[in-house]
Subunit: 308 residues, 2 copies
């Protein structure tokens, strides 16, 4: 008889570290949250928060332990192997560390081993793909060089639309007037205050006002939102071409913007259909941390430590 | 007989404060330079550098003194009137403070009082116009919302061109390969290092590499540079429409980018000609500080303190 085994999943991002413990049947046994985990922000504090989370989960645990972590900014952690050894020895476990994006990628439910394309359209945007265990990233160039198809990109595009309209005509059209009103500013000049010296996520929050105008039927607002959907579709299609696959591809849409802003998802799907891409939208929308359970099982099954 | 009078001109910007003293015949008597003057950066140090500059110029001076200053970020100086009183009393002078942009605008030589449009295309971009003593500003929304027609905007456009080419085709075209080589980076991913966490002017410096490729005949590089010229022309034309003038407009091109980068100025002029704008390029290209001399004379002539 096999020894019982446990999977510890850790999903670490800019705001929190989520930890989940599963038993070998896949039942969620425990769930905890601690502060942020992002190796680009603070390596020491990230390690502290990760270990606090694991501590809470592995107390009094019997049997084998597999720890699967997806942590933001993991490429900034030098000596990854050493840190893995520290964790393995501290918790008597087998540990792997990946990016939080990869965790999310493995949470996409597939029949057999379909290729997967996952797009995250939130404050920023990024595309991951997975085919036969090979992962790839597209985009992720940040707000100065990319982020097309994100809430931040929408807001900047909307503000530029207002500015261009004003500079060319010396007066405001309906869209611009309504948007300034919702933003609670008097003049086009004031848009600068909403963009400079504030965080990227502060800027991105104004996306709700464009959505509100679109839902009221404003054509410019609708067009701006549809454009972001088309931007995302183009990125997905680039990832699709790279995969060179004839199989049906599972497309997973993640992130608050692509899922909540009106017109974005619809424009995205229409564009992909026009491009005759062979795809299917992932409707399950499991939590990203479920990817840790999937990877943990693969790790266990492979009977070897390292790449699964 | 009138008392002799002297004009002190101060042109303060991010890198230095230039001061020039003219006698009443317009002869340059003295010229000095001190550290930066920018009220958006450091109000106290800016005041210190301004006063050091004036001190050097007014030593042993006889007769009336008119001080005309054009200082960056002057809108951030609260209590302007108080500071003017301080200077007037310290130097027994009549002082006015304007932006450095306005100083430059008044340095454009005109027959009679032609309207003027001045575009500054350097690291960033901005447009000023002057008609019958009325000045106007267009653009100046900064690098996140504008700066079209600047070195910074060119570099970001060039980097985006490389990224889009790479993401769509999974390989680099000639332009991208050559540009990465000149930038001394190995991969598209490395472009992020050249943009994030560095100053806007550091980013803008890479414009020389696009220029180098354009001069070697690379079509994409030429197109990128021409686009910036067209961007500037569109801004000039917006300013022109706003002026509602039938007179010939003096167009002054200022800033290192529009004057030194190849193809920009040519594309700009061609675009304005296509738009049938009634204009003439200012070829004199006087130093911006000459605007202080012009304004000083107007101030003297008007016999009143305040708006000239």
């Amino acid at each position: 008889m096999n020894k019982p085994f446990n999977i510890v999943g850790i999903d670490g991002g800019g705001t929190k570290t989520l930890g989940v413990l599963w038993d070998e049947k896949g039942n969620e046994v425990k769930r905890v949250e601690h502060g942020f985990a992002n190796f680009s922000v603070d390596i020491l504090q990230t390690k502290i928060n990760i270990e606090k989370t694991i501590d809470d989960l592995v107390k009094d645990l019997k049997g084998e332990i597999y720890i699967v972590m997806g942590i933001s900014g993991v490429s900034n952690l030098r000596n990854q192997d050493e840190y893995i050894k520290v964790l393995n020895s501290k918790y008597k476990a087998l540990t792997i560390i990946e990016t939080d994006g990869l965790l999310a990628l493995y949470s996409v439910v597939r029949d057999s081993d379909n290729p997967v394309i996952m797009i995250i359209g939130g404050t920023g945007s990024i595309v991951y793909s997975l085919k036969e265990g090979q992962t790839n990233r597209l985009g992720g160039y940040g707000h100065l060089l990319g982020d097309e198809g994100s809430a931040y990109h929408l807001v900047i595009s909307a503000f530029k639309t207002v500015i261009n309209n004003f500079e060319a005509n010396n007066k405001l059209d309906e869209f611009s007037k309504e948007l300034l009103k919702l933003l609670n500013v008097d003049e086009v000049e004031d848009l600068k205050k909403l963009v400079y010296g504030v965080s990227k996520s502060e800027v991105a929050k104004h996306a709700v006002h464009v959505s509100a105008l679109a839902l009221k039927g404003n054509k410019k607002a609708i067009k701006l939102l549809e454009n972001e959907g088309i931007n995302l579709a183009n990125q997905i299609f680039n990832a699709y071409k790279k995969m060179k696959t004839s199989e049906i591809v599972k497309v997973a849409l993640r992130g608050g913007f692509v899922n909540k802003a009106p017109f974005v998802k619809e424009a995205l799907i229409k564009k992909l259909e026009n491009k005759k891409m062979n795809f299917e939208i992932d409707q399950t929308n499991l939590e990203p941390i479920m990817g840790a359970y999937y990877l943990g099982n693969k790790l266990k099954g492979s009977k070897k430590y390292g790449r699964y």
